[in-house]
């Protein structure tokens, strides 16, 4: 089936850390900033909580893009969590790229609790990027596709 890109609505999973990015998303909401409803936010205690398996599972269950948001390096609620995230995710995304899976489908952004505008802008940009890429084909699980 040919997917018509003008109608294609990507599913985006956003892992947001409880202390910064989730509050940032909240701020974007209270400020009435628009970002696409296709972004599904999953709150995690810290960006460091996100296991590489979570990212892959999100793709398996039908996500077209996965974005991970955490506190700015140096501002982690748990002091150092996001520094580990940074190394881990760099390696994981590089590996996805190495296997030929579009690296634009994955992203890490640092969004603080005060950056509602940045949150909205990041999500708009990311959704646009993923919409251009189209449906996630290379890391999909056909059994999990909606009929």
């Amino acid at each position: 089936m040919q997917v018509n890109n003008s109608e294609f609505k990507p599913k985006i999973v956003a892992f947001c850390c409880n202390w910064c990015s989730y509050a940032g998303a909240d701020l974007a909401g209270t400020n009435r900033l628009n970002y696409p409803a296709d972004v599904k936010i999953i709150r995690v205690p810290c960006s460091c909580r996100v296991n590489p398996m979570f990212i892959l599972r999100a793709f398996q269950r039908g996500a077209d893009g996965v974005i991970l948001c955490g506190c700015h390096p140096g501002d982690c609620h748990y002091t150092t969590g996001n520094y580990y995230t940074r190394r881990r995710m760099t390696l994981l995304f590089s590996m996805l790229d190495y296997l030929g899976i579009e690296k634009e489908r994955t992203r890490v952004e640092w969004v603080s609790a005060a950056e509602g505008a940045k949150f909205a802008a990041t999500m708009n940009d990311f959704v646009e990027t993923v919409t251009k890429l189209g449906e996630n084909k290379r890391l999909e699980d056909l059994r999990c596709k909606e009929k």
Binding site: P52, R86, T90, M95, Y98, G100, K103, R107, D141, L142
Partner: protein, 324 residues
Amino acid sequence: MQREMIERAKALLADGTVNRVIGWKAGEFDYDITPAVFTTAEELDAGFLYNDLCAANLSKYLIKESRKEGKILAFLKPCDTYSFSQLLKEHRIWRDHVYVIGVPCEGKVDVDTVKSKGITGICSMRCDGETVRVETLYGEESIKKDEAMADRCLNCKSKKHVVYDELMGEEGDVLDSHRFDMVEKLENMTPDERFAFWRGELSRCIRCNACRNVCPACTCEKCVFDNDASGIAQKAAVDSFEENMFHIIRAFHVAGRCTDCGECSRVCPQNIPLHLLNRKFIKDIDELYGEYQAGADPDTKPPLNTFTQEDAEPSVIYERGGNK
């Protein structure tokens, strides 16, 4: 060398330094030599082998063996000592229960490589200096040793033993290898080509878990892939997602701890070049966080258990490379 090793092992058994020996013994064929534990001088005489076909890395067996009564004598090749040292660093082996003798290695002959050169129906194999003589159903063939070695030995990273109690032969050096050449080649392909390449390789996976079971870095008592609730335990991968996931996660779990011993590729019954996944992580770590060889130095911090404030941002991967 084999004679010398048996004599030394017998002497250590006789004076009570050790009560068993881990080494290699013949399998059904010349080329499927298997690891084995010997407890008496007679057993050593009858079964102990060391030649250019003894490829197995013995360090992983020492996790369980070192927890038993008494000391065990282990013969380790240079690349095995890296794994051994890495396991010591992770407190997985009881050092005072192991007596390590470093043995030299000139590269191991790999039967799959020999077969890939068109030699089939192999009955027996013998390495004779620089030539490998193969007796096949269709007559005798010979092949240069360089052509009979797997990638891991052709691009040997080091002939140096990093840990030992005693050394047989000369002390070797760390070598300048070209082990990242293939990784670079893949990196320079377009994503479509890379995807096609890996699909071709990984789709052959039968999820036998041999790569995980043999890996000296995979030592968890409970493995994420044995979790019944995960839906991926004890079964073959049924679609491309599961194949990709298994191999990404397997390689990721040993990232920063993989010593690049190449056992995963050696044992793969489907000949998937799994070491290329591990090497990608090693190469990325080297490039982004500074040169790091797992197992080489007991005091360095593993790259994924540490960080610096100046680390590269994940966005670095969008900028790297030409075709990427």
